[in-house]
Symmetry: C2
Subunit: 565 residues, 2 copies
Amino acid sequence: MANKRIVVIGGSAAGPKAAAKARRIDENAEVIIIQKDPDLSMASCGYPYYVGGYFDDRNQLLCTPTGIVRDPKFYLNAKAIEARTNTEVLAIDREAHTLSLSDTLTGETGSLRYDKLIIATGATPKMPPVPGADLKGITTLQSMQDADFLRKIRDDHSITKAVIIGGGLIGIETCEALQLAGMEITVIELLPQLLTFLDWDLAKLVENHVREKNANVITGNGIAAFLGESGTLTGVKLANGTELPCELAVVAIGVTPNVKLARASGLSIGVTGGIAVNEYLQTSDADIYACGDCIEVTHRLTGRKVLAPYGDLANLEGRVAGENAVLGNTVTFPGTIQTGICKVFDYAAGSTGLSETAARQLGYEDIVTVINASPDKPGFMQGALLVTKLVADRKSGKILGAQCIGPGNVNRQIAQWAMAVMGGLTVDDMVNADLPYAPPFSLAIDHGIAAAHLLQNKLKHRLKGLTPREVKNKLDAGQTPFILDVRGPDEFEQMRLGIGETLIPLGALRRRLSELPQDKEREIICYCKISLRGYEAALVLEANGWKNVRVMEGGIMAWPYAREK
Amino acid sequence: MANKRIVVIGGSAAGPKAAAKARRIDENAEVIIIQKDPDLSMASCGYPYYVGGYFDDRNQLLCTPTGIVRDPKFYLNAKAIEARTNTEVLAIDREAHTLSLSDTLTGETGSLRYDKLIIATGATPKMPPVPGADLKGITTLQSMQDADFLRKIRDDHSITKAVIIGGGLIGIETCEALQLAGMEITVIELLPQLLTFLDWDLAKLVENHVREKNANVITGNGIAAFLGESGTLTGVKLANGTELPCELAVVAIGVTPNVKLARASGLSIGVTGGIAVNEYLQTSDADIYACGDCIEVTHRLTGRKVLAPYGDLANLEGRVAGENAVLGNTVTFPGTIQTGICKVFDYAAGSTGLSETAARQLGYEDIVTVINASPDKPGFMQGALLVTKLVADRKSGKILGAQCIGPGNVNRQIAQWAMAVMGGLTVDDMVNADLPYAPPFSLAIDHGIAAAHLLQNKLKHRLKGLTPREVKNKLDAGQTPFILDVRGPDEFEQMRLGIGETLIPLGALRRRLSELPQDKEREIICYCKISLRGYEAALVLEANGWKNVRVMEGGIMAWPYAREK
């Protein structure tokens, strides 16, 4: 029997992983990668850090951990994989099991037979459909070429003002990179907030941090046109008419799966626009698998199809597609819970599972959420702030999602919550979680466990919370709750909201109850720095007969609006 | 109805947490803490960092996050809890529901009625039963007084040589603290390895790091006597006769639960020597709860009773005992999976669930393990090494435990694995885990997921591994496997084992097969730096007819013995 020929279209992340896995499963198979670009196996998630100057050697984006560039020679020698770069697949003839190819440098064409085909064609950055998009000075950050272009601008100090179109993950990473390169940056986001994987409450705290780093942020406003002179970008015009002068615009408004080849060959395309695959990552053609940013996958919580163009999933999917292409359908890919994290200057921001916004859009109605703020470690070990928002199903207590932001160790928190969501754990499971503790690594009661404690207190109707946004909305609507700050006088002197609050330190509260509204029905909103003392204060008031006491969740640390001081 | 009086014996971690929880549940209860020591709510896990000079203000160990010392006045004002320090409980009269008390300063005695009692008497450091244990210069690191004593030695530079008796978690933390204080340290451990929550393979790598930091380590040797002159320590004598001069000895050979009061009052003591409690943390007396280091708890994997004297669990247990003491048995404590982590100079070392050693001792026979070594992040983001050992049940694939060490982000890894163990996840669940990825935070395929990939490959009989120790034992026993290093020549020049290996880089292997033993039954052991290439090499050899090919797990990075270079 002749050796099986596995052909992989695409040489970025999922494609090479699929090819390598196929090779490891079958040393005798013929494995071929067809790659349109000149480079292979680019660590594309690293582009912003190259542009930002975290490292200087671009080859580090293309290397194995031991410094070997992953070029066709490497693939041939180390993996016995034939990698054809600068080669475009023009069409798939599914009946004949052949591809039509074209050399992008010479224009030479040819064809290639396959036994099993793996499509890993990736995704293409979206461009806003506005005038001027072809001006010089407009780019994305999606390819090695883009990274080289932006890095050169950084090294040349040739540009002073740049705009980022899009306040998502890549937009924010690019914002940091260009800011570090010394440019004056403005991030423009059509939606009312940055980083839509976060709920507004946390996104706004991140936005405040971005502004503190002297980047400008414009939300709720889209781009209407790119402006230029002699073919070169000179500015952007926003939907509200504002014009911003700039010499560089980086577009980061998301990506569209590359499904042209798949569609043209008659493969099923899913509802989201990605290639439809089953749990084995097999397309509607039994001899064709697909993986990476070009496919749609199952959301493990909702069961719905979603696009999940993330580098980590691309690698995991490639591994599954590669094995199944060789052995037949043996391993499955369960899908995504849309876990993500990004660095935002001195903060990190991460999310897993469903945000409150996403859950409500999907029709989850009986959910409960809580915001927790605390350091990640004890103060004597230089603990840094974390703010977490948890989302759970009220009836079952099942954790549906968690978001976390701040200068603290967001990475551990999101990893923990991702595992909790994958394990189907509940709030009750989490309140007694046995997690690694020592002062260099966490609080005695880990920030995440404390968040579960708060949520359990809410489920038991002990903690009656309001988010800072809900408090602000009440005040803006003219309501007049009694607002009680229960911190110490020193703390009040250093920092305070200035929203009409009364200061009564928790330690004095029980003997100063007469200073509270004597109408026991009056709404009282308690808080402190992070609202632990605020919660204790609320319990004291309730025990003394006040009927309508709330706690502002996360306290001052989660207040995203301007403060008096 | 009179208000309920909750009395808590013990004011360190579990006790104050139980008292605070009781107060939050019932503002009208009378809550009293009886504490023998002068201090309350000490962050005892922070002692080594105070001694080591990570911070200078001892009050930080006794403060709330906002800098208020948790003294009786604080408890009274902020929590309406009466905290009586310097007060010892002499006896519990269960029938009369009273305690006999003694003031440790004045000797004055008295009694105190309780409705519900919570015992949180903690644990006492073990002392080795050898001569000289009363010499001046011998201490533990268990109390504020111990911490003050050692910190003064540090600040005075009065001592040059110290020994640590015991190479467990606290011994190693103390070793680092005193090393940072400029002393010459020797750690003495009776067992053949440090940190017995790790298997030997990983413990030995940690020991190498401790030695690199110029601390001396003696394993497999216990203390026979403390030596002294005029009542002051001058040295220690070991079981093998060695005498080590030293002016300071810190004993850290574990703790014994303080159950004297409980035992004297007739409460059930468990098989491990801790106070026996049910899932509600209720003792054999329905009106008495117990929590913290003095109790035994259930191991969540094995169902057996174990001692788990950890600060994080003490807090969680306190919360449960406090609530149940007020409301009756409403919340449960599920037990421990014995998750732990400690800082060891530039390394961290952590573990969750069962080690291989523990699993085998408990009779788990059909288990499978794997060692994985890799950076925690990409090289271009200054990734640092992690070495993980996973333990799983072969039949079900269920994760039984994970250990991780190294300069990389051990904290996230152990947190992840702890959640996996709590969720009952399997190797198959972990291979496609959706975890937070961005280059500042992890590899595209997270180190932990890669470990699961390896274990899956072992379960599928694709990866046939040997630990470095198994390889060394073969060589020491005179066996002559063909040893194949498949790294590049540059790497070989910089670092190599020197155990008779042949270098054939992976990229040249397929065309240099003739250089391998032509006896296809001969054992061949492949490795590289971390054994990813080693694994690929093994697959190439197997496909070419070699029948007895093994991979040395973790590669050179997991080799704990001396290297040629």
